[in-house]
Symmetry: C2
Subunit: 251 residues, 2 copies
């Protein structure tokens, strides 16, 4: 089972990731990982087909406090596509002068959409095909970058077409918002001042917001499974699209 | 002055970069750096608007032997575009199911091409505008990914149009070849077995091929200035496009 993790904050936030647990049971998620950090319109993408136990890239991400307003991370257990750098999530494309970042957890059966636009998969995963199709359809639906509300409306029309092919838990961001589409399992949580200490439910994948101190700071976290106990995680329903802007759910 | 460095090899090669000298005169290249490594069709891109003296990303790249067949690196001294993550070279786009990586050293005056295709700049540099225009024109010239010879022919038609706007030292790769376009200064070197020890001419930016031992190994290196003394670096003439495949110049 792949793991997804997303973060959307109203202030660029020091995020540090922990992969502690993965080091001891890396065989479960041995097929690579990736993390994308938006800094305004700019993007840092770290991907590695190596297990998080061995990867110098994972080691750097663990120790490097990157300030970001939107983060998408993915730990891969290969279902389709061999283990290779080009098959690591998140995937990135540019549209309308914005980078778009996409990660998927699930399995689309016999999904070979007609890709007649400007977006083609580099690797061999169902996930990247789905991303290219989404980008193609967004590009057809709008002449230039629309606002978050309009984008959400278009996504709500497109996503059921993907969901018809199988399980489609998805995170998407263009640096302005974080979109989270639920299928089988996806949870979210909002944290605000005062930030209380939380107990990790699972040390596989965690995120540390210790640097957050300002009363105005607000952050939303989305994860496959709740990362902590004692906090009000909510499930995203199958077929539901949640949109997070400035650390809060919208609409 | 920005610095470019490219590598093309016939076997995925352990490359380690050294930024030693930069640490002592970081004010000359304080505006960020970036390195892209192809692994087959997959790509790792490390960019940082911080100086190589401070950056944990640079620190990781220094210590991490990444096996790659095509590498493009860039140390930035901002001329156009403010210092920001989205203005760091190399830039990446996808075309025909291949990633394309581009880095530029020079200055294009009043270059605002008509971008009516699928490629728009995210940042504000002349370099990214030139890259988007090149991708747009390549996409118009070929229906799917052509061979290296055909691509080189198309590039030789397009590059003079960019050169007319100013200085355009450029490195471009799609993982199959490395294209190097000379303007004011760009040099190249081929290394083959037996690999002799070379003396660094400048410790700003260097690349270590110590891991190369097989007699069949062959690697071409392109750099703004010769990186070593005692080796047969050759200048790329103004307006010349060199193409490197499998560690050797072609045509």
């Amino acid at each position: 089972m792949c793991q997804l993790l997303g973060m959307n904050a109203n202030t660029p936030t020091d995020v540090m990731f922990s992969f502690t647990g993965l080091a001891t049971r890396a065989d479960e998620h041995k097929d690579g990982f990736g993390i994308a950090f938006f800094e305004d319109k700019g993007l840092r993408l770290f991907v590695d087909p190596a297990s998080a136990i061995d990867s110098p890239v994972a080691d750097m991400v663990r120790r490097y406090p990157i300030k970001s307003g939107n983060v998408i991370a993915h730990i891969r257990k290969a279902t389709q596509g061999h283990v290779a750098l080009e098959n690591c999530h998140p995937f990135v494309r540019e549209l309308w002068g914005r980078y778009w970042v996409f990660a998927h957890n699930g399995d689309l059966k016999d999904f070979y959409p007609r890709l007649h636009g400007a977006f083609r998969p580099v690797g061999s995963t169902d996930s990247e095909r789905a991303f290219c199709w989404l980008m193609q359809e967004l590009a057809k639906a709008h002449a230039s970058v629309p606002n978050v509300g309009e984008l959400s409306t278009t996504l709500r029309e497109l996503l059921p077409l993907l969901r018809a092919h199988g399980s489609f838990n998805m995170l998407l961001s263009n640096g302005q918002a974080l979109w989270a589409h639920g299928a089988t399992q996806l949870h979210w949580l909002q944290r605000q001042h005062p930030f209380r200490p939380a107990t990790l439910a699972d040390e596989d994948l965690s995120v540390d917001f210790a640097a957050l101190t300002s009363p105005a700071d607000r952050v939303a976290v989305v994860a496959t499974q709740p990362l902590t106990t004692g906090e009000a995680w909510q499930a995203i329903a199958p077929g539901e699209l949640k949109v997070f802007v400035d650390g809060a759910p919208r609409g």
